[in-house]
Subunit: 255 residues, 3 copies
């Protein structure tokens, strides 16, 4: 098991390696989230690409170091692009992250997400309502750990408190600020950050916990200066860009 | 008739109810405006959704409390989604708002907007050039009131001074700041705010006037701190998020 | 040849004329860049439009003063819209700018970009990797000047130092700040600024050099106040909006 301090150190190491290596992260995400996701990736030193054209997505994924699949927009073209992209990621033995955004609001999207879980995402990042939809409405106690164990993946369940589990190891992360829920695409951008973390940390549970911790700490730093969600949206990018090991050690609240 | 003070009070009540109820607003809007619109809705406590996939839009609208239809992007898929969305809104007796963005620049889009007016939007939010295109070029005096009366809707005509009328009642709102015109999608986001207001205020004229007033007052608050349109774009979101009854009473200029 | 001081004066004149004339710039650009591009155009007084619907794009271009074609998203619909848009620009003898974004990552996109160069863009704005892809991998010394001369266009090659050449005249612009590379769509928005400049300055080389200089100087002004890339993204818009001749004269580093 990892002591809390190890996750803070992992987050610091992750940020240092991202800044040094500038990995490429290809994102299939919704049009609402694209700009904010790209800016968050750039803030940690990663290089985003965003095309969803089925004609081109294989070429972009092949050149990338990790793939994000976010279901925030859902149509036939997007489904085709996702299929091609995951094939390309598998061919290159590249980690991919699933963000089943809003599947609690659309049954067909939930069904598609369940199929995607079978294609072995390294991490699934979602909220409580989305986890309930993905696991077929399972409302009981430790649904995240059970889901992770059953499907051989890592679940990063974010909300007021964030929980990251691979079915055996668990991290409970109490960082963050309520303003994070008032900025659109914050969860989507968080999934992209998990995806970036996977390019420098092969332990998917540790990568996800480190990324979620870093974002939560950045949110706390930003909230101290923000006047509201508009300025906060920029300040959390600033905080992530400048986040150092000392701040992560001092502020992370992981158990 | 409503005295100015009543509209300021309505705006304060509207904001309090939005924060308490967190209504869902489904937005069919253009890709330029999606992120800013979502952030403005979140700033007042509403929960945005943005999918335009014809396959899913009915499901999202059925779960929402109000629908925004913005014509800022216009193609066959979008027209299909709009048709499905309005049917779903009608089936659920849910108010919907029409923003006929840029119809003065594209004849086919203007023709489509005229058809949509026949499907009874609660409010049409537009600028002077768009009203001229929608009413067939009618340039004369009180075109907004005449249009509202003829079509049984509320017109929110925004610009240097904003005018909200249902054909009988009129509010002239002198709040706002010139920087609002230097931020893309400000009008589109304003239409979304009117849409949110309809979820807590059944009188569409009062809802529209309250929403337009709140946005104008927030713009004035933001302009006091902004260095230009870039910082203003975030600060008006902050101001809207923190807007209180005292500020609305002190600053609203409604006649 | 132009002395450095002339380019600073041209930039100041360009900004004054843009603010006075409010030219329309139609942008076919990727969904990641649309909002930021629109806000940058508004910051200098231009009026952006963004539709990519093949049904409408001709009508929007016909009403515009210049056209931007950015390849950041690439699919059959986008290719059709680009073809229609360039025809409309040619018919109106309107300048157009090509931004072959990411062609170094996608061979089919590079091939399409090479075809577009044959349709006489006034300016091609790109980075070093994109120039190599466009010129068929030509890595040698002054590839930009050779490319410009061969194709009868202006090349604006941006990066740590920006170079603008028509094959004969050359400007080397040492303004800018590293934070510019940490904001998504900064290059795309820069291309839009070049496009706006062409509406008030018929000498494409001078227009491109002036626009690149103005953006670089605005970046330096913004960097003095920014805490990171999140706040910088707004502050550079502010700086561009308020940029005056004295600042341009004092700060431009053109040789």
């Amino acid at each position: 098991m990892h002591a809390p301090v190890e996750i803070a150190e992992s987050a610091a190491n992750m940020l240092a390696r991202l800044r040094a290596r500038a990995p490429r992260v290809h994102c299939i995400t919704n049009t609402v989230a694209q700009q904010y996701t790209a800016n968050m990736l750039l803030a940690v030193g990663a290089v985003p690409s965003m095309t969803i054209s089925p004609e081109e997505v294989a070429s972009f994924v092949a050149d990338a170091d990790a793939l994000l699949v976010n279901l925030g927009t859902f149509d036939a073209e997007r489904r085709a692009a996702i299929d091609v992209a995951i094939r390309a990621a598998k061919a290159a033995r590249m980690p991919w992250v699933l963000d089943p955004a809003f599947i609690d609001r659309a049954p067909a999207r939930a069904e598609f997400a369940r199929q995607l879980v079978g294609r072995a995402p390294a991490v699934v990042r979602l909220n409580t309502a989305e986890l309930a939809a993905l696991s077929g409405g399972d409302p009981a106690g430790d649904a995240a750990a059970r889901f992770a164990k059953t499907h051989g993946t890592v679940v990063a369940l974010t909300g007021g408190v964030d929980r990251v589990t691979d079915g055996v190891r668990r991290a409970v992360i109490a960082n963050g600020d309520p303003l994070m829920a008032a900025v659109t695409a914050m969860g989507c951008a968080g999934s992209a950050l998990v995806c970036a973390a996977l390019t420098v940390e092969p332990d998917a549970w540790l990568a996800a916990a480190a990324a979620v911790t870093a974002l939560g700490v950045a949110g706390e730093v930003a909230a101290e200066e923000a006047r509201g969600p508009g300025s906060f949206a920029g300040l959390i990018i600033d905080a992530l860009h400048g986040l150092d090991a000392a701040t992560l050690r001092a502020r992370s609240r992981v158990s």
